[in-house]
Every structure is written in C-alpha cells, then in structure tokens.
Symmetry: D2
Subunit: 143 residues, 4 copies
C-alpha cells in the first residue's frame, strides 16, 4: 500500500485539474454539498482519460465501459462558491479489471478533501467485467 | 389561454404531489436552486404517470419514450430547506405528438413557482417523433 | 465491529425508507449514477430525523448543524429508472460529536448498495464542532 | 424584440464559453438531461461575470446578489456524453433591477439549444430587489 501510494504520489505531480466551485455545487450550509465533490472527481477522471490516455470516458466504446463500484471521500475543510480548486489524480491498479483513482483537492495549497473512485471495466453488451486492455492500462498507469 | 388555464386548474384539483425541499435542492443563497424545481416537476410527472396513467416514465417501453423539448419556470417566492410543498400538474395536448405539463408549486397555500415542461413522444429505435398512443393520451388528459 | 453491525441491523429493521429511481438519477450507462445514491442516503436521513428524532435536518437550529465529514458507498448491483428501492439506516455513535449512518439499499429483497455517511455536529455561528445534545443523541440511537 | 435580438447577437460574438457534456449530465435516455443545460448556462454566466465584468457570481458581495426569477430552454437537438459544446451568452437589460441572459448552445456549428435566465439584483440583508449598480450594468451590457 505504501508503495502504491508512492507510485500514486509520483503520478499525482504529473496530472492536476483546475476547477471552480459553482453555485449549484453548494447548499444552504453555505459550503460545497458533499456529493458535489464526486462531480469534481469525475471531471478530473474525464480530463485525465482524454488528455493522458486518449480515450473517451466512461464509455470508451461499444465493448468497454468503466462502471463505478466504490466511492469514498473525506472532507477536511469546507469549500465555498467561487473557490478555485486543484484536483490531483493518482491511478492504481487494483486488479486486471479494476482501477482506483485517488484524489486530493487543494485550495491555496492546503488539502481540503481526499477520496477515491474505483471502477471496473465491463463489456456493456453482456454487462460482465472484462480485463482492461493492456495498452489502455499502461497509459492510465503511466508505464 | 384563459380557457386552457381553466381546464388546467380543473384538472389540477385532481392530482397533486407532495414533496419536501431537501438540502441538496438548495444552494449558498440559502434557497432552493433554480434547477431543483425541475426535479420537483419531474417527480410530479413521474408519479402522475404511474398513478393516473399507469405507465413508467419517461421511458414507457422500447418503442415509446417521452423526451423533453421545452421547459419554463417562474420563481415568485423562494423555497428553503425543509419546506413542504404541493405541486399541481395540468396536462395539455399541444399536438398529436407533444404534451405540455403545467405546474404550480404551493407552500402554505401560496403559489411560489409556476412552470411547464413540454415533451414529445418518440420511438427511440429510430429517434423520431411519433403520435402518442390514443389510450395513453386519453388517460393523461383525463378524458 | 460485528457487534456494532448487529446493533445496526437491529435498528435497521425499525426504520426503512422507500424511494424510487428517477430519470435524473440515471446516466447514459442506463443505470443510476454513482453520486445519486448519496441523494437516496440523504433522503433517508432527512426522513429518519423528522419521523424518529423529531428535528429538521441537516440544519437543526441556529446553533446546531450536521455537516458531512466522510462518505462511502459500494455498488454491488446496478439500479435502473423506475426501480423501487428500500433504504435501511443504522445510526452509530462514533464520538460525542460524530454520528455514522450506515445504509443498505435493497431491490426486491436483494442488497444492491451499501454505504455510510459520517457527520459532525457544529455550531454554525463559530463553525466549530460541538457535542451532540444528549436528548437528540438518545433519539438517534433509539436509547 | 428584433432589436434586442440584434443587440444580443452582436454581443454573442464577443463572449463564448466552451464546455463538455459529462456523464453526470446525461440520463438513461442516453442524452443530456434537460436540467443539465441550466448547469451549462450557469457555467457561462459565472465565467462571463468573472472575465468580462470582473465580479464573483451570483453572490457579488454582502449587499448584492443575483437571484434567478425566470428560466426557459428549448431543446432542438440532443447532446450526448463527450460532446464539446460552445455556449454563447447575450445580456439584455429588462429593467433597472433585472437582467436577462440569452443563450445558444452549439455543437459543430449547429444550434442545439436556446434559452434564457432572468435574474434580479437583491440586497440579501433585507431580501429586496435593488438597482443593479451602474458600473456593473455597463460592463454586463458592454457599454
């Protein structure tokens, strides 16, 4: 796990995504609603997949989709409307079929949020898990 | 228009939907976010279609979907988290293919919001507009 | 943990919430979007707090709010538009200030999703964690 | 109206916003959900207000907020996940207190969606409509 985390941190430095907290991300507590953070995570994966891996996300093609199987987030400091945030993404191979994306959200250099999103590769025609194609996996893991 | 409104009001009295403004419906202005109202409208159509018309919504079957083509809302008074609201729905036939649902949202007897959602019947296999089946149209219009 | 789970299951049998997967909960994969489940969780907490504890949620009053600090979900089987779901909720005391709500979502008797939402009590005027008032905590924990 | 539209079109050419349809914008019909378009509209206003007017949006300061009072959208062609869209924005002065933003969403040069969002300036401390400050109004209208 420590090694995986190191690998993740190394990659983290290579891909960051800038986003902004918009009014619809917030709620009547005056802060970003907890489910909005998953939107920030999704935005970051989508951009990572397009820019670094060169594939559409999450529906790569008619025989390959990424489907979410687990999500987690810890909210350390609140975000507010207008906040400019930096999201770092660290992919980890959990199995031949499952990828974990770990995230940190930073505001003015401080970590406000951490979390991960696990996704399994499936063939949507039969709705069964499949191995992630070798060349896609390599690009995701920056190998 | 006055007639249509009268007809609408008559029907309105027959179908109302109770909902509650939840925290995720609100934003940092402390009031319900303007796009959340379309969630209230959708909830009401879905329940109307299930209870009054007896069909799933918006995807009725493999050859009949209702697809939104126009939406409108006017926000007269703000709603806040925890508000219990009553939504009235009034269907109108715009053409053989298009139905308008008019809405009023009331809180403690006062109208807070009005709006409408127009939807066209399509065959999703060919993604083309089709006539709304006679028996479904009759039940929607309470004929 | 086993004991806590047993306690949770015992309580689970006492409070369940029925919901329906609506079109806006789904995405282009044809299934409920992963962040929508947090909406189902929130709906269930809100109803539990109103019906069992007798307080508004998450903003109880000017000096007591519940703020989310951690969320987790595992998606075992997909949900689709129109699915009628049952959500069970099991509160656990994590500390004097933090409550965990554990959830199971069931469809036709089968568990489709599990997860939890942790929330800290704060005084919004000073934005600091506070002890959950004794009488509220007792009602949450069904003591 | 024709004049207003011309004025709008003139300004339209000056400010456009690029966005992408993400998986959470879509629903089980395989297309962007109708309420997601209001997210695209909000994104565009927010960026316009930041880049062209130089103010945060919608909460400008403690005494000036923009609150939505009317929304409208017409959906001419569907959008799908991954679509890259261009949103044009055209501000119009409706009164001393109310601004309309008209939108066009284009995909590959074709208009897919039109709509508008009307917003009133209020003082949130008293929750009353106020005149939009002269210098802000001028920058919004590009005068």
């Amino acid at each position: 796990m420590a090694q995986g985390t190191n690998g993740g941190l190394a990659l983290t430095l290579e891909f960051v995504f800038k986003d902004v907290v918009r009014i619809y991300d917030t709620d009547a507590q005056g802060i970003a609603h907890y489910a909005s953070y998953y939107r920030f995570f999704t935005n970051t994966i989508e951009r990572f997949m397009k820019d670094k891996v060169g594939i559409p996300y999450p529906n790569v093609n008619d025989e390959l989709w990424f489907v979410i199987v687990e999500t987690h987030a810890e909210y350390k400091r609140p975000l507010r409307v207008g906040d400019v945030i930096t999201v770092t993404i660290s992919p980890q191979r959990l199995s031949e079929k499952v990828i974990r994306f770990q995230f940190q959200i930073l505001k003015e250099g401080e970590v406000t949020t951490t979390g991960y999103v696990d996704q399994v590769a499936i063939n949507p025609k039969i709705w069964k898990a499949v191995n992630i194609p070798e060349e896609i996996l390599k690009r995701i893991l920056n190998l």
